[in-house]
């Protein structure tokens, strides 16, 4: 088990070592492909500031979207009319590319923090909604009969049957959204920002500061991984009975 756990670390180190060697050996210019060591030295306090900004936007957008999507799913469960009416609209919003909507968000909410939060939220909303709707209906008809035989009221059925059955679905969605949230925030920053990893990537690519560009790319990956792992940590403690994965 421990050996398998170490495998990704070993492969990661191997990849970076090969990369470093290749760049030095073939004397690849920095503006095309900087060596990992060069990228690391480009990581400074400014990068940390940009990372923190993007991370906070992603986290806020993720949290807001998840809360609203969960609430909407509960409403959909209670009202099939609303589900039938609003679901197509949710799909329409989902299928519209975020890059197309992002300029509008900046126009409405300004170039500051909130337009990025909105972009992150917009991209997180749909997976959580769809999976929660599915998860809340995951308890078999027979389980619901059992609860009816025990004269459970609707709240008890929700709290003690539907919600726990929904949790694996919810966490699967939260994992998807957590990585999407960072994408949303960065797309928002591309359109108009003075800070954040998206801004850093845009500016550094325009100046051919490829080492800074790479540091921005890695930082955004780290932001996504941290969020994803945090959700996974909570999942293991909450959905302890679930052995397999729910997609």
């Amino acid at each position: 088990m421990r050996r398998i756990g170490m495998a990704p670390v070993a492969f990661g180190i191997g990849l970076f070592a090969a990369w470093e060697t290749a760049v030095r050996l073939f004397k690849i210019p920095t503006y095309l492909l900087p060596a990992p060591s060069t990228i690391l030295s480009a990581a400074d306090r400014a990068l940390a500031g940009h990372l923190l900004m993007t991370f906070s936007e992603a986290l806020a957008g993720f949290a807001i979207a998840s809360a609203i999507a969960f609430g909407a799913a509960v409403v959909f469960l209670r009202s099939p009319v609303l589900e039938r009416g609003l679901f197509p609209i949710a799909i329409a919003v989902k299928t519209t590319p975020l890059v197309a909507i992002a300029p509008l968000l900046v126009l409405w909410l300004g170039t500051g923090w909130w337009s990025k939060v909105a972009a992150a939220a917009l991209i997180c909303f749909f997976p959580v909604l769809v999976n929660t709707v599915r998860g809340l209906k995951a308890a078999d008809q027979e389980y619901r009969e059992l609860f009816r035989a025990f004269k459970a009221d609707e709240w008890q059925e929700f709290r003690k049957l539907r919600l726990p059955f929904c949790l694996p679905y919810l966490f699967a969605a939260l994992k998807i959204s957590s990585s999407l949230a960072v994408v949303g925030a960065i797309v928002g920053e591309f359109v108009g920002a003075t800070q954040g990893l998206g801004y850093l990537i845009m500016v550094s690519s325009a100046h051919l500061d490829t080492d800074i560009l790479f540091s921005g790319i890695f930082a955004s990956a780290i932001a996504g991984i941290v969020l994803f792992q945090a959700i996974g940590w909570f999942e293991k403690r909450t959905v302890f009975w679930q052995k397999g994965e729910v997609e």
Binding site: E142, E145, L146, A149, K151, A152, Q156, K160, L161, W241
Partner: protein, 275 residues
């Protein structure tokens, strides 16, 4: 009341026979155009162990659901102790229910699963010491001491069904309705659990007196019951009531039992051929 089942029906006092424990009068169920049950008339006395026997998909599970009050009759009516389902006159009229699947909640251990009906009854998460003691007693009754903190995924199919029985007995029902309770288990486990069930039914630790079991197994029905209601399919209707006035435990080699088994088998074959 408890000793009633020890007596033969003729010796029971008239008052107990006056109101059958469970009675259906011209009971019918339709799902849209489809008629599932047709003019079913059952009279089940208190203390009886009866089986509803029929081929798979003949509507016997539907019948049990109507008896349990989970489905409404389209025509006719169901009476428990002379009253509509759910309005039982005494505690002896309370229903317990066991499904074919154990239907345990995977995030709850044995004790928590058995306590579920009490939680739902009281509201909130609070269960008293009294309920806990009752739950431990029921877990003991189904011989699962030591597994109180095990989760369903750690239990075998037979053990899971034992937990389901303990859970059904939590409300101390006088009547237990079982829908092919051991149908999903292997033969050996099934026989062991059938013996267990008879032991629980005869034990004095519960109020349990009347038992209605849906089954499609002829040997099971003949081994276990005082009477077998044989149902023909599509729509389900009662074709014959078979009396088995034999003491328990019953050995399949007993000539009288073998004769009844052969009779029921012939009966079932004639039904199935028609269908």
């Amino acid at each position: 009341m408890r000793n009633l089942r020890m007596l033969s029906p003729e010796l029971r006092p008239a008052s107990a026979r006056e109101f059958p424990c469970i009675e259906t009068i011209d009971l019918g169920v339709q799902f849209g155009e489809l008629s599932v049950l047709e003019r079913i008339n059952l009279r089940i006395a208190e203390g009886e162990f009866v089986s509803l026997l029929g081929p798979s998909g003949c509507g016997k599970s539907t019948l049990l659901r109507v008896l349990a009050g989970l489905l409404h009759a389209s025509t006719g009516e169901v009476r428990v102790q002379g009253l509509p389902v759910g309005a039982a006159a005494t505690d002896d009229g309370r229903l317990g229910l066991v499904f074919q699947k154990p239907l345990l909640l995977p995030w709850r251990n044995t004790l928590q699963n058995v306590l579920l009906p009490k939680e739902l009854e009281h509201g909130g998460n609070a269960v008293g010491t009294l309920d806990r003691n009752q739950a431990r007693k029921m877990i003991g009754l189904v011989q699962l001491e030591g597994f109180e903190t095990s989760y369903p995924s750690e239990l075998s199919g037979g053990m899971q069904q034992r937990v389901a029985i303990a859970r059904a007995l939590m409300s101390n029902p006088g009547i237990l309705l079982m829908d092919e309770p051991f149908g999903a288990l292997d033969e050996i486990t099934r026989e062991a659990l059938n013996e267990e069930l008879l032991r629980i039914w005869q034990s004095h630790e519960t109020r349990l007196s009347t038992l209605v079991m849906v089954t499609h197994s002829i040997p099971e029905a003949v081994q276990m019951s005082d009477r077998i209601f044989v149902l023909a399919p599509r729509p389900a209707r009662l074709v014959e009531v078979v009396d088995i006035p034999l003491p328990r435990p019953r050995s399949p080699e007993e000539p009288e039992l073998a004769r009844i088994t052969a009779h029921v088998r012939r009966l079932m074959r004639s039904i199935t051929c028609v269908a």
